[in-house]
Symmetry: C2
């Protein structure tokens, strides 16, 4: 019975009645659905089958669908003024585009934003994301002029490879803030049990967000705190903060939180301090944070903010106010609003009102409009620090991944095809010769080595030169040095003969077969690094690196990035390690060839591109020699898993869109 | 003109008039003062002198004084009903005793607690703490039956040695929560500039709080969140949390925050789950967190809370509520209050109301009274985790420090007195012989060694046995191995002769005088540990330990404790290291003698007691051998600073009380 020209139908009938309604909608020419109805992927095998049928039905008609089992959507564009949600509050229009994977949480989000005076451009609770996903919304928000900042509540990333493609493009233009829950074992269990989405290793999420420029917050409150700032203020150009306060204590708390999160307190120009001294009382503090004392009046805030804001050494400004007896909060709020208007428009202004109640409405009545406010100094610092980290990401060069030329690609595939032929297309470890050939072809230097027998070891040693290391090759022995299967420092054929015999005995004692002896040129000196690849079923290949040999695993000091890794990414990986100083010549040790190590990481990433069958790679140790001398792989192992296979970066995984 | 019997005078006249008022008060028999007046320690040299005179005047009369430059005090005992603060709000009576070093922040504290419905037993803003200090209040609160939890805002600790004595005694009975600001370089600058208190290394504060059982929070908001729980709920007996929610999303966020902070989600008993299934809808989630779905009514909350609360596998209970359309918050609040009343009284109940506004008053109207509430799930998890950590501290044995017998003490003092005589009572490093003798007397094993010349080295080597290490002794060379001043693995007199000559040349090349050659038995194998002492001017001697040789400093993975260190403290120090696994036989390395390392730490602490002149001790490396084989000091250095001196644990430092 519907008239023509319906844009959107909201379906809120029992699950059994949905197919009929969808048919009716199609007949009436409706192109878009919001399906509120529950009883789908969250309701066992039967529900999942029902969802599959619904999705096929909708797609068959060429419709788009939000849901099922969702809380609806909202668009505050005055031309639409659409509120198709279950929420009772009427959200304000504004610059935040919000995506919530949880419907119930979505209601809390709308309530919170509304109470805080923050407006939305768009809000979508997408339920099971059977059709429209967070990735569709990233694409939409990228083009939507009304959206200034994107906020996501995610329990899973959906299709992370699409996310990895879309998010950085959006983040170059608009900040994305996200809470991703399900980090912990319990959290993951709850998320998997409920949202019918695949659980993901948190380390992969961390790497994805880091590379994509997504600001990840630890808590929901932090999500709001950061979004409040980014929706209303510009991104600061740098980390230097100027603070104006009427009390010292909160100023110290703010300073602590700043420095803990990578911000710095600006050193104000002498001219600024002179002018401040001209009107503030003698007992005020004339270094940043500027403590104007509890007698600070509205006019003092106004002048001080304008002065500090105009100081070229300041990238952002924070006004802190503790309501004392002698001033009226309404007056101070108005003074801050006036002062903020005199701050150059490219510098953000944040406020802290240390009080249980909301700041007076006057705060938002200046020429600059809404000023973000926080009840505690640390929250403001956290929001500003997140914005500042985002600015660094946005403004740094992307770099380029390394790509092998056609000849190299052909030669690499020939080696892998040989392995595939040898192992009959079942998962397998490469042997020493295959791995050496593969790495060598990929331009990664490997210590010269040869596989031999106990009897022939001395003769082979003479062809390699000295010093040498002898290692056992035995099925099942993966960490050779852990079982005494490595003898170093062999300087003659005689020493090699003794070592080979000793290794033979050692394996016999352990009841392990000795397949062969590997002789390898000993690489002396250098910083030990680990470079590897692990494959996440949802996220695809992850590159990992660490420094310090055995200590890498002990300290869990490693950096992960999703493939592909650019030169800039590789450099950031090394910089993020606590052990980064090892490369700079630590405590009398020689400096190490950082450039060569970065190149190894990039060549491994390029190799992943050519060998999608790679399920595991572990180059450990890579000896990073003095600058100019390169980096040499001393030991490594690589596993491939052919075919239908997690590991192919180009294939779409079987997960919800 | 005052009548007799005045208990307290509040002095709020200009600084110049204060002495006269104090005289008048004394004449009228007043024994206690609150001095609000500013212009003292914060106002330069003149102000400090004025404060000194005021303090002497007050003490001369045998009066006690809060302030000067403070915001007053408050006592909500109905017998007193005293509010001598500058705050405009009228705080509620309750169980929180609050100390604020910042007056302005104190106003915000009162405002916040009041808005949150939390009551105070006592509140003190002590300004410059010229007389009454936080330590006096710790002693008072220890005896005050109306105070259930103590909350501190500190910019400096005052007299940390008194604090270290008083705080653990109080914390055994009542929790202490503290924010200590001034962690960062800027924060410290602001704190030092303003509160006229000495800046302290944050690591010392961290050690002090850890040992004293003080719950340190990172932010002011966390201080309130933790205090709200501890003021109204019992301390949980363990880390297992039961969660009841009407939405899955917040449940996941809570679970994530739990696991990140050391709590666990309880595995509920099958009987509990069966009973829950008898009344909750089929689509509810029947594993912890229990998601009752958005249809959950007040009666569901009541029954579920009572059931989960009575489950023996649960130590604490959290109710999470997202206001949906179908239920009234007032009803739910009442249901939660009734359910909480059925939870055994020794288990805490916390609530999360995901809404911008306060929960309805019904929440506090059950038999259990006030229930702490949080707007976000993570805040509740944080408060509970802090309470759980406190419980572990409170219930674990204290252990005992090691104390040397009289003979040992006498012999140790004789060695030190010899050093003092040698160096003419000026600061000095102990030489190898002195340090060996001192450590040996203290029961700490040192590798056998002898100081010799290049010429005599081979002969001395024969008396020591092999293998040996040769080290340079040269003024100004502190890290010998960094300059190539160590040669290891010497197995004969001939090798020793060559090594000694090589060291001589190396020093000559560097233009450093070679004072002597140190020959030392090489200790083979073992895990390298660092055990040391550093002296903080305010906090006194700090013990430090770490594992992993060179990597200790690179990873900054060290544990600090204030002297004296008990066996339990020493064990906790080792446990807190990321590298702790090194002691357990890591990756094929042998296990190490943890007991022996703990004993070294305790013997060093005992040594500090006898040698208060010790300003720096560095035993690095200590080789920790296989269990039963002990721990041997391979290299060490110790500096003493005689006399009037930071380092004497018994002396009171020149800081405010």
């Amino acid at each position: 019975d519907l008239p023509p020209g319906i844009d959107l139908a909201v379906v809120a009938v029992p699950a059994s009645a949905v197919p009929g309604v969808v048919d009716d909608c199609a007949a009436a020419g409706v192109r878009s659905l919001v399906v509120i109805t529950a009883g789908y992927a969250e309701a066992g095998a039967e529900g999942r089958a029902r969802q599959q049928r619904l999705t096929e039905q909708v797609r068959g008609y060429g419709m788009r669908m939000v849901g099922p089992n969702c809380m609806g959507l909202l668009n505050s564009d005055p031309a639409l003024s659409l509120n198709a949600t279950l929420a009772t509050v009427a959200p304000l229009p504004g610059g935040i585009g919000f995506f919530s994977q949880s419907g119930a949480l979505g209601i809390a989000v709308l309530d919170h934003l509304c109470g805080r005076g923050l407006g939305l451009s768009t809000f979508v609770s997408a339920g099971h994301r059977a059709d429209v996903s967070n990735n569709d919304l990233l694409a939409y928000w990228s083009e939507d002029p009304r959206t200034a900042v994107v906020a996501l509540y995610l329990e899973s990333v959906g299709n992370p490879r699409k996310f990895a493609w879309l998010a950085p493009q959006l983040a170059r233009r608009k900040p994305i803030v996200a809470v991703k829950s399900g980090r912990s074992a319990s959290g993951t269990r709850a998320a998997a049990g409920h949202s019918a989405a695949l659980a993901s290793l948190d380390v992969a999420v961390e790497a994805l967000f880091e590379q994509a420029g997504v600001i990840r917050t630890n808590t929901l409150e932090e999500l709001f705190d950061v979004a409040a700032m980014l929706a209303t203020q510009p991104v600061p150009a740098g980390p230097r903060v100027g603070v104006v306060t009427n009390a010292n204590g909160p100023g110290i708390l703010f300073a602590d939180a700043c420095e803990a999160s990578g911000l710095t307190l600006a050193a104000l120009a002498p001219g600024t301090l002179d002018e401040l001294q001209s009107f503030l009382p003698e007992r005020a503090e004339f270094s940043n944070p500027i403590d104007m004392t509890d007698s600070a009046a509205a006019a003092d805030y106004e002048r001080a903010l304008a002065l500090v804001g105009r100081d070229a050494s300041v990238d952002s400004i924070v006004a802190i106010y503790v309501p004392p007896m002698v001033t009226r909060p309404e007056d101070i709020a108005a003074g801050i609003a006036r002062g903020a208007s005199a701050v150059p428009s490219h510098k953000p202004v944040l406020t802290v009102f240390l009080s249980e109640t909301k700041p007076p409405a006057e705060l938002g009545m200046g020429a600059r409009g809404y000023l973000p406010y926080y009840h505690f100094p640390e929250n403001a610092a956290l929001a500003l620090a997140a914005a500042s980290r985002y600015q660094r990401w946005r403004d740094r060069p992307r770099g380029k991944p390394l790509i092998f030329d056609r000849l190299t690609r052909t030669r690499l595939r020939a080696i892998i095809d040989g392995v595939l032929a040898r192992c009959g297309r079942s998962p397998a470890w490469l042997d020493e010769g295959e791995l050496s050939a593969l790495l060598g072809t990929a331009g990664i230097e490997v210590a010269a080595s040869a596989r031999t027998t106990v009897a022939e070891a001395p003769a082979i040693a003479e062809t390699l030169g000295y010093p040498l290391v002898a290692k056992v090759i035995s099925p099942g022995v993966v960490h050779k040095s852990d079982v005494g299967g490595v003898i170093m420092g062999l300087k003659s054929a005689g020493e090699v003969a003794i070592a080979a015999t000793r290794l033979e005995h050692r394996m016999a004692e352990m009841g392990k077969p000795l397949e062969a002896i590997l002789l390898q040129r000993e690489v002396q000196g250098g910083v030990e690094a680990l470079v590897g690849v692990t494959s996440d079923p949802t996220f695809g290949p992850l590159l990992v690196c660490g420094l310090g040999g055995l200590m890498v695993e002990l300290n869990r000091d490693v950096a992960f990035r999703l493939h592909p890794v650019t030169n800039v990414d590789a450099g950031e990986m090394l910089k993020s390690l606590r052990t980064a100083r090892l490369l700079e010549g630590y405590r009398g040790m020689p400096q190490a060839d950082r450039t060569a190590l970065i190149e190894v990481i990039m060549r491994v990433s390029a190799l992943v591109e050519i060998v999608p069958e790679m399920s595991e790679l572990d180059l450990n140790p890579v000896k990073v020699l003095v600058p100019g001398a390169g980096a040499v792989v001393v030991d490594g192992r690589m596993r491939i898993r052919p075919a239908e296979n997690p590991g192919v970066p180009s294939a779409d995984p079987p997960i919800p869109r």
